[in-house]
Subunit: 334 residues, 2 copies
Amino acid sequence: MNVAVIGLGLIGGSLLRALAAHGHRVTGYDADPHTRDAARALAEGAGLPRSADPRTRAVEVTGGWAVAESVPAAAAGADLVVLAVPLPAIPVVLAGLAGHPGLITDVTSVQGPVRELLRGRRFVGGHPMAGKESSGFLASDPSLFDGCAWVLCLEEETDLADWLALAGLCTALGARVVPVTAAEHDRTVAGISHVPHLLAAALSTVLAGNPLAGTLAAGSFRDGTRVAGTRPELIAAMCGGNAPAVREVLAGIRAELDAYAGDLAAEDPIALLTERLREPSDLRRAWPPGPGEPSGVPAERGELLRLGRAGGWVTAVRDGEVVAMRPGTDRNGS
Amino acid sequence: MNVAVIGLGLIGGSLLRALAAHGHRVTGYDADPHTRDAARALAEGAGLPRSADPRTRAVEVTGGWAVAESVPAAAAGADLVVLAVPLPAIPVVLAGLAGHPGLITDVTSVQGPVRELLRGRRFVGGHPMAGKESSGFLASDPSLFDGCAWVLCLEEETDLADWLALAGLCTALGARVVPVTAAEHDRTVAGISHVPHLLAAALSTVLAGNPLAGTLAAGSFRDGTRVAGTRPELIAAMCGGNAPAVREVLAGIRAELDAYAGDLAAEDPIALLTERLREPSDLRRAWPPGPGEPSGVPAERGELLRLGRAGGWVTAVRDGEVVAMRPGTDRNGS
């Protein structure tokens, strides 16, 4: 496939490298000339600069790619254009894609607003659930999508053949493709990705003005706050772009915390709290679910959406046949 | 030193093994006969059962220990008795230590109530900030305390010579000994340990009734909820034993979350939220602080407590001389 990747940060850079390693013809573009230089240097075998992630440097470059000097130049002749830029930059990139006939997808963490921006275009919304604290092309990793859940939105207006083609591409990179609507995606990621960043930020404030806290803090604090070190602009953009859903989840979390506080004010806090914590503890210990049995799924919108809602995912698309997995009852890896 | 360790769970078991490896004469006791058998079998070189943590089995047994059949038998002749049992079990163990002349310490995550229980005894309250999700003797690890912060409480009634002797023992195991009062400890651990468990539990509830959430959840959810899988009884015991401090921190977290929700309801949520998240992000990225320069500290209660409040710790006690570190301005490891 002939693919253009617009935006070469962590996700776009990783995708550029992963697609090239899988034999696709890939052209990248980034608005930052230093990023374009780094992407070009790596393609030419010069390797990443010394400051790059050591794990990344260990990865062999198995394919090359081109780097263009503009969005239209990158997209020329592409069957697929991937918008790997932050939400606010999408309109600018779209202006450079006026009249482009190929399929467009994105990797944005909020799908509703992207769907609105792309109305009338040949578009399938996408969001790979992959990331790490580090960002930028130097942190890119061609194996980033191996095993990751990759949402591909399936709306009334989505062309099923386009969806299946994209699902085939993503599963070939090792991703588990999850068919959902943009609305279902946005509601769910508010809980499992956006609000976790806000909880991590709130928890980090216990360090303020208390050096003793910084010295005593250990594993539970480290893990509970890990993503608080993400750039404030990124957290604000993903939460702000999904504000209604994030506020709803925050209200639920607050109600839960209020219930804990209420138990702690009662006469026998330990017994009450033990009972209340049983469900969250069971939920967490059963996560992540292991895969169940593979099975075929009809290549129909309704069937695919049912699969996604049940926690299932597509593992391969071969000659229009969809191979799927549903979550098992056993915990993954236990 | 002749040491008795009462309670051979994760912390007690690890301590038994660490002390033995450092050449102390150690005797352990646990109320559970299966745990006593396991501790005895390991001491005899039979190794842990096959279900043990693989990392634990890799550790060489460098010293032996004895396992007694009762608290008084374990404590007979001990210079130091370590209470490594949950808070509710401490009174029962103390009944078995009636008339015991040696120093007593503990490893409890709430220090105020333990201080009350031990009034009138020769006691120094302690809390190593070490742990992992797994529990029990089979998860024990003699290197668990290497580099960990270990609170040793310094109260008006604490004998300074006892405190220094215990600090010397703990620093020899590789721990960073932090001198604080029980009240300071309890306020601080509410923020960096107890409330993180409650936030993890609250966040886990987003999985309830939504299999799609379980499939899409990735790194930020995994880390933000890791400790939610801890046994509800343990979380409830530590939060319930420290209820006033935990409620105060919860109120602060709730105010923070309400502020985020307010920003998200405003006209320009991204700009507001970016500004608000700057401080928590900076706090988290500056953590953990790197060690500054080592320096001597007078072996006096006031000086030692000042060190602890400033985020410093004791690294060694030699012939009554205290060697200390204060946190540096650079981040540890950056």
